[in-house]
Amino acid sequence: MEIIGTALNRVDARDKVTGMAKYTGDLVGPHALIAKVLHSTFANGLVTSFDLSEAWKVPGVVDIVTCFDVPDIQFPTAGHPWSTDKKHQDIADRKLLNTRVRFYGDDIAAVVAENEIAATEAVRKIKVSYEEYQPLLTIEAAMQAGAGAIHDERPGNVVVRSSYEIGSFEDAIKEPGLIRIEGDYETPIVQHCHIEKALSFAYMEAGKIVIVSATQIPHIIRRICSQALGIGFGDLRIIKPYIGGGFGNRQDALTEPLNAFLTMRVGGRPVKLEYTREETFCCTRVRHAMKFHIVSYVRADGTFAARSIVAYSNQGAYASHAHALVANAVNGFRMMYPQGAIKSEAYTVYTNLPTAGAMRAYGIPQIGFALESHVDDIARATGLDTIDLRTRNMMKLGYVDPPTSITCHSTGLAECIQKGEAYLKYRQKREAYAAQTGLVRKGVGMAIFCYKTGVYPISLETSACRMVLNQDGSLQLQMGATEIGQGADTVFAMMAAETLGMTMDKIHVMSRQDTDTTPYDTGAYASRQTYVSGMAVKKTAESLKSKILDFAAFMLNKEAWDLDIKDNQIVRKNMGTPLISVAEVAVESCYSLTNSTHIAAEESHHCSDNTYAFGVCFAEIEVDIPMCQIKVLDIINVHDSGRLINRQTAEGQVHGGMSMGLGYGLYEYLKFDPKTGRMLNDNLLDYKLMTAMDTPELNAAFVETDDPTGPYGNKALGEPPVIPVAPALRNALLNATGVAVNSIPLNPEKLFFAFERAGILS
């Protein structure tokens, strides 16, 4: 391969460094109306009436809608491919505006005005009367006997409970000589914090509602809006320009359905609905907080005889992606170490907190923290080596996961561990740091992970691509799959160039999706795009190439099977001497007076396979015990993501994920008023997002395998880097201090109490 595997600049880099790249907010015309949403200031209750008289008096107000004016339709918001099987459909549990309020910040009314100041002022002047109920802010409160139902359809507030058992746990634990290790682990609610706020603008044109939105999933947004408004798919058109990050938050319908309704209300005039940063924090989606109880039975040699897990996931007010997250987490618990009997029970529970949805790595950072912390706890209890323990029990090549049949087609995990170990000199340092006594101590930690690349067989995996040849021998590449910052457009262009035998400058990526013209794809989520959509590129490129060669054969009076394309030239196969250029073929195909034809290709790929990516994080930290502070001295992630498509963007994904993982492990959490459920740190000052100063130098390394199922031997890379960082830090803290802290973030407040309990604060 000539292009795949090199390090190339992004195809959109120039537009982005010059300010030419257009994002949603840059496309709104100057005369758009501005919409603002009124959010509830109570977490659990019922809106009984509004007094709009003062709000209507604000000059510039065009329309006011309340929860009493919206269609009586409950709709789902999760960005999953739709399932035609009723049992697998997403839970439809919200309306465009809600009378029954379920969290502090719920959408209850909206104003459309001539300008932002008028809209904001009118929202402030709406008076609301409501009945308030006791907010249920924790899983325990929501599950308590007698707790009121947050949704009538789910008395008891459990959205879904699921369980599985591989082998017999009860029989397995009867084996003599087993060591029992037990632990509770907890992860917090955090937010995606893409720097572009949540927004869309909507208008009507040619009888259609057009929504321009910062979304990861334009085709799915069209389906959700059609359901929410009770109108046809064809009545809607979704346009997705460049977006300022997604990380899963935009794998959900956010502002779009309401905005579509608002433009209909004002006769199709353009309406912009842009959330503030505070609203983006509170009223979009967050990462599920989860709690895990793990029990392991381990043999003296370190092999796992039996393990059990009970998991609780805090869903917040609305179902969104619901149980899919914790189900993914407990499946990950099984897949990572598929040894012995394994038993799981998982609950997703409604509470009166902001809605949790998809976020980078979809439940796996949560289980990753619990599981990898637990494995170090096992090592401590048994005296076994942390690396040996993992390699003995971890997933091996050829593993077939019993419930899903997902097969381990390739693995470089053992090599990843070796590489990371050698870089950090982990074993040597771990021993050296084991018995420190000072106030400032060092520690090393590590954690591994496995990650499913796509969503097969849980959900549909389909993707389409179109290529249209231009007269100069270049082509437009159009994907349903979306660029969300991860570099999708660039790797698609590389794949196209590689397969076609053309150079990168000949591939024009049409980055913007428009559901009226863009081929179908479910969008950017999971780590599916290079794997699933990449195959659509490959198939389309092969198809286009054969059309080019057919025409060239006609022109040259040769056989198409004997021709190939190399560096934009038609050549004899295996000879390489250029016969004619692709551009000449393109011109002739277009203008031939006898045989003109439009050379274009479109193919779709229905993927029915999946594969695991792997990796490891090794970290060295310094702990200032009296200050209760952790400083990261050195950190490396080593990934097996199959063959790399673009080294530059691959590395960038790892850096970004590591940074998010560092934030997850050390600083980030959303805080709520325990009485009212109001979010307390809904801004970028009080929410501790990693800055350049907080971030250590990040090292990204790879072990390349050639996955037989990936279009170019590649597998997941976008999400995984976030997974192993937090547990590696926690295990480094354990190594440094002997104190096991089982919840994140490992911030000074948490460390203070942990160190005090351990009696090392003197």
């Binding site: 572009e196 969300i484 991860q486």
Partner: protein, 166 residues
């Protein structure tokens, strides 16, 4: 609504705008001057996406009143590309180092880096990190951004040495 006329220099050109006195500089630059490189990530001075240079110093234009711009010299990202479309070395470095992902923070970062790369005193990576810590990026982990700034700074110092300028 009170309006006022503001006269200032934007990217080397003298401009005059009649604006609502309540507008921020970022609103004026985006709305009146169509300089869309200025992004809004928070509107309250937390994220740095709206950074522009005012008389050579980086400011969050979202919390800088447009009326304060009277008589000032303002440089935005658009001003770094010359009339022939040639981009500056720092923009090129952001491309080459992979310092751009979603790109939403990029204009602000490039503007914040200008005082560093134009300074005669070399800044360590630590100092670079400190100087751009008012700019938030969720995509890159900052590693390649720091690389791009560091490389451009070194290159410029070399160039100045070479040309004998101070």
């Amino acid at each position: 609504m009170t309006r006022k006329t503001v006269t200032c220099t934007i990217n080397g050109k003298r401009r005059e705008f009649s604006i609502d006195v309540r507008s921020s500089l970022s609103e004026m630059l985006r709305g009146e001057a169509s300089l869309d490189s200025i992004k809004h990530g928070c509107d309250v001075g937390e994220c740095g996406a709206c950074t522009v240079l005012i008389d050579g110093r980086p400011f969050n234009s979202c919390i800088y009143l447009a009326v304060w711009a009277e008589g000032k010299e303002i440089l935005t990202l658009e001003g770094l590309t010359d009339t022939k479309g040639t981009i500056s070395d720092i923009q090129q470095a952001f491309m080459d180092e992979g310092a751009v992902q979603c790109g939403f923070c990029t204009p602000g970062f490039i503007m914040s880096s200008i005082p560093i790369i134009t300074s005669d005193t070399p800044a360590s990576r630590e100092e670079i990190r400190k100087q751009v810590s008012g700019n938030l990026c969720r995509c890159t982990g900052y590693e390649n951004i720091v690389n791009a700034i560091e490389k451009t700074q070194k290159k410029r110092i070399e160039e100045r040495k070479g040309s004998g300028k101070k």
